[in-house]
Structures are given as C-alpha cells and as structure tokens.
Symmetry: C2
Subunit: 375 residues, 2 copies
C-alpha cells in the first residue's frame, strides 16, 4: 500500500528517511552482522548511537552545560509521578498550572506522589471552566490566571495540550509564564523540538518521544544539574533523576531501538536545517489549516482562542457530528488518516507534528475546502 | 556482513524470522501504508498485535485465568521497586532470597521502596559467600538456605542469575523453593519461556524482554489477580499494577514496537513447537557446552555447582586472563561475539537464550575443543 498521510496524535508519523534508514540496516547494523536491537547497550556500536542522540539533542536545542539530558522510560505519565518524587520536600510542595487534560493528569499523579512523601501539590492556576468532563480549555494561561507560591519546589505546566489543541508560546501574547525564582517544569511531549526554545528559562523539560521525535517507550528529560543534585535520595534509585544523570542513561538497559530511532529522526531534523527551519515549516502547515477553518466560518469552527491555537494539534468542529463522521470517512478514502478528535472531546483533530509533510496539509486543505463547499 | 553468532547476555540475539518479518513490513504494516510504530495504540491495527502478544503468552505458558498478564515499562530494575510498592504493608514486609548480583539489586531497591512506605524488606536467605564485590554465588538455594517469615507479603527470588550463571529448577535437586502460603515472586528476566513453568506456583512472575523474548524496553508481568486487587492504592496510579491490569496495558502509550517484536518472537516460538520443544533445544545446547568444559578439566573450569548450572548463561574460566582475552578475540574473528564475562566477575559467558541457534553452539564447541588442545 502506498504511504498514507498520517495525522495521528501519537504514536505519530515518523520521517520517511528515518524509517528507511532503519529498514535498510535492520538486520545488519553498521556492518556488525546483527540488528541494532541485538547489540549490548554496553558495546561500542550501540554506545555511538546513544551518544549521537544525546549530542544531537544538545546541539539542536542549544542545551546549556548546566543541564543534563537524559533518556528514561515509562512515558510522560510516569514522569507525572517521578518528577514530584524527586523535587518536593515536606513543607515545599509543587505548583500546577492546568490548561487541559494532560495538565489535569499530571496534577492528579503529583497529588498521589507528594502525599506518599508527606508533601503536597497545589493548583496554582487553571483555564478550565466548569467541572468534570465538560470542562472547556480554550486558551493558554496568562499571568492573571496564575498564583505561584514563592516557596514552591517548582511550577508545572503542559506546553501543548494535545487533546484541547491549546499551546503556549505560539503567539507573543501567550508566552511561558514567569514564575520568578520558582523553577518552571514543562511537559513538552507533544511540541518538543517544534521550534527553538530557550532552555535556560526552565528547570526541567520532559517529553515522551512518540509525538515529534521517535517511537513510544522513551522519554527525554532536560534538567538543571543543581535540581538533580538536590533531589531526594530516600526514593528508590531507579526513580532518582541522578541515576540516569550519573550513568549517561545507561544504569539499566535503555530502550535501545527507540533511542536509535530518535537518533535517526534528529539526524533528519538537522539535515532539514534544524529548529529554525522546522518552526517555519510548522507555522506554515498550521497556518494553512487555520486559514481554511477561518475562511469557512459557517462550516468549520475552532473552539480555541486565536492566541492559543496549537501549531501541533489543530482541533475543530463541523456543524454536526454526522458531518464529522463523514469527513473522517471521506478523508480516509483519500489516504488521510488519524483525523478523529479525542474521544473525550469529539470533533476533528489534525496533528501536524514535525514529520507531517507540508504536501499532506495542502491535500487536506483542498479536501476541506471542497467538503465545506459541498456542505 | 553475514549474520554473526551472537552470544550477548542482553540485549541479545533475536530469531531471524522475527526480525525478517519486521524488516519486510517496516514501512507498510499489514497493508496500512505506515509503520507499526506510527500506528495509534488505540487503533485496531495495533490492538490486534497487542492482543495477539498477550494471547500467545497465555497460551505458551498456560497462564491460569486467575492471573493477569501485563506489559509495563522501566525494565526489571523498575520492578525491583514497583513490586514492593504494590505489595507491602506496615508490619508486613517483603522477604528476599539472594543467589547472585541481580537478587542483590532487587533486595537493595526493595529496601528503599519499603522504607519510603513505612515497611521493610528482609534477607530471608543467600548463597553469597564473603562480603562485597568478591561475593561468590555458585549455587541456587535449597530449603536449608531459607527462612521465610510466615507473615511476609511475598518471597522474592531471581530464577536465573545472568552474571553468575546460577539457575533454579534446571535440576530436580534445585527446585523453586516452597514458601508455604507466602506468595513466590520471581524475576525471570533471563530465563523467561526457556521451558514450561507451573505459573500457579507463583504469585508474580516478571521478565524484562531483552533476553529471551524481544528488544529492551518492555517488561512482562504475570500476577495473581487477588494480589493486584489487594495492592496499595496510596501510590501513584502509574505504579499500581491494577492500572495496566484494568486497562489491558493501554492506560498510557505502551512501547508499541517492542510489543510488536515480542509478538513476532512468540509466533516463532510457537511455530517451533512451544516451550516443551524449546526446553529440549535449550538443554541440548547448554549440555553440549558443559560437556566440552567437563571434558577439558585442566583448561576450562565452571565455578557453578553442577545442579545449579544455568542453561541460559554458561560461565567458565580459562587458566589465565590472557587466555580468556585470546579466546574472545579468536572467537570474534570466527564470527562468534558477546562471549566476554560480566565486568564484575570476568571470565567467559556464553548466553544461550532461545534465539541462539544450536548450530552456533556446535561451532563454538568445536572452537573450544580446538582452543583447549592448542592450550
């Protein structure tokens, strides 16, 4: 079957050159007579890949020397618990800014993790209106939404809410908040490496790989070394961030094939011109899509406020659910898949991660114009 | 480069048919026009793979209905902490039987995990002689080595010690211990599925995939449902075993490609005749190797007592370290790799996991005979 246009929210499309490279050397990695996944994680062949992936992350993001770059397991969902386990103390809890479903989950797990250690997690701000499943998150937070405790161990936010299509720092009017001396911790799972980021503004950045940089099963953590050093020591070693930091993420066997795929994706990204070029490409892709939505106001409707519209996950509604079903079905017949909105909110969601080709968006936009015209 | 004979201790050799299947459909999984790792974990294409992997585990091992089969992340090293976090209570700690380096690590993490929750972990038996790095583990434990607390939450053991080459239940004289009503918890990472096992004798079995059943990044857990139900609820959701149990291991994004590879390996294993056939094949492989060692008593020396010799990791020494270096080097020139013993104990280690072909052992044994003759 020819390659489909994959708009999945994650696991998501990967760059074809990164996949082809893996396929071509799948049985014989670097002339070693075995697959990369059959190599020891302590052997020089795998270690070269591991080191290259870490170096590419540092290079692409311009990570300062004062930060560690780590690979860990368990998904961002595990980090929801593991980060507070490392950073809170009795009397020094964690603050959470919630702008969507993933922020809610992070806050919920932080409550359990901190309670286990005699500390606490606190809601420092939210853009959710109303209660329960109907909560609407239609914008990134501003300073007015936020009250940070000056003694908080950190302030946590979700830079891009995949389900609600709400993103920080796309528009200058919705920058990452200023938490003063309180370190900013950001879950960047669904917008990691979409554009250059000033890492020095954060205490910790983490991202599950399966949206923008690789397959599922690996999480990248970028963390200030002083936070690692000050982290709790009374939790199991495997959960201490100092364990991967002190062992180059090779304390126990890492998910070697996933890290290899990340290396392939990052090499492709660098070849395209790095994060500056990627930002242009991503803004153009999403811009085209929002353009079609706004050009058909009677038919398509994006619930997200203009300044907070995500460049990674474009969500919108059609006049009726039946129209949405027909939209998904017709698009699929044209080789465009992964367009159904998250089951908790419905509608359409177009994920336009780095690996999504601009030409796919052209095709989707043409389809959307035609679909709206037909009504 | 032609395929090498890979005796790595883990990540380890995978069956060629399982790799070829993955290579052939790497860019177009099941005619879907995308790689399996680009599929949503909630889509029907991936879910079919996920379900098949779980069903094959149940079928091959004959897992009783009273048990859950789970996929989790973090490696066995994470389970070292996660299992006590689920199962201990105040006043009801965990017992550990230590027969090698991995048992030591499991016990050490259990101490940290239980202390965090106001409980404790206790050494119920060990076969380590002396202290520190020089500790020698040369046999599996017997009833005489063990004192189980009748009120322990569980008794933990490592069924096969990868570094020390010591294994339970190879010889009838070294069966898995009887802990009475205390549930037996076994880390089977390096001998999972090497032969049929009576699952009903265990409360919980866990195994990192990267030895016998797949790439690194996935852990299989087989656990009695009543233990899951009684597990602690005051730890983060992501660490509770009920979370994967209640969500078919799809609570958060699982390592989909790793689980897909496990499916491929299990399908291959079933095609070879299942665990009974695999046991015959594995015993024959290891038997040949120990035969060469015993036939050259002045040259090769296996430190492990006969009844406890591992069928998965055959460790032995040569007269001098210089001989061992030459052995590894000459074998490598003949396409046999991964033979160096673990850095903590030295010597030679031949890992003969399921995917290691009997013909590779024939070749290695011929080389060993010749090498000994040359001296």
């Amino acid at each position: 079957m020819p390659r489909v246009k994959n708009f999945n929210a994650g696991p998501a499309a990967l760059p074809l050159p990164a996949l082809e490279r893996a396929r071509d050397e799948f049985l014989d990695f670097a002339g070693s007579g075995m697959s990369v996944m059959e190599h020891s994680h302590r052997g020089k062949e795998y270690e070269a890949v591991h080191d290259e992936a870490l170096a590419l992350l540092r290079e692409l993001l311009g990570v300062p020397d004062a930060y560690d770059v780590l690979f860990v397991q368990g998904g961002a969902s595990q980090l929801f618990a593991q980060i507070p386990m490392n950073l809170v103390e009795k009397g020094r809890g964690a603050d959470y800014l919630v702008t969507g479903a993933w922020g809610e989950k992070a806050f919920s797990e932080a409550k359990a993790a901190t309670a286990m250690l005699g500390a606490s997690a606190r809601l420092a701000g939210t853009t959710g209106e109303g209660e329960g499943k109907e909560k609407r998150y239609v914008r990134a937070a501003t300073a007015a939404d936020l009250q940070v405790s000056p003694d908080a161990a950190y302030l946590h936010l979700t830079s891009n809410e995949t389900i609600h299509g709400v993103q920080f720092a796309v528009d200058p009017a919705r920058p990452f908040p200023d938490a003063g001396k309180v370190p900013l911790v950001a879950d960047m799972s669904s917008d990691f490496l979409w554009k250059p980021v000033d890492v020095s503004r954060f205490g910790l950045i983490y991202a599950g790989a399966q949206k923008n940089i690789g397959p599922s099963g690996v999480v990248v953590v970028i963390v200030r070394k002083d936070l690692v050093a000050a982290g709790r020591k009374d939790i199991p070693k495997i959960f201490q961030l100092r364990t991967p930091a002190e062992n180059k993420s090779l304390y126990n066997t890492p998910p070697t094939f996933g890290i290899y795929m990340i290396r392939n994706v990052l090499a492709w990204l660098k070849g395209l011109g790095g994060l500056g070029a990627m930002e242009q490409r991503n803004r153009a892709k999403a811009g085209k899509l929002y353009g079609v939505i706004d050009a058909n106001p009677g038919f398509y409707r994006c619930p997200v406020e203009r300044e907070s519209r995500s460049v990674m996950n474009v969500v919108f509604r059609l006049p009726a659910e039946a129209d949405e079903e027909r939209f998904v079905k017709e698009a699929k017949a044209k080789g465009m898949v992964g367009l159904k909105g998250h089951r908790s909110v419905g509608g359409i969601r177009v994920s336009t991660y780095n690996a999504v080709e601009p030409a796919w968006l052209d095709e989707l936009c043409a389809f959307m114009q035609d679909f709206a015209k037909r009504g």
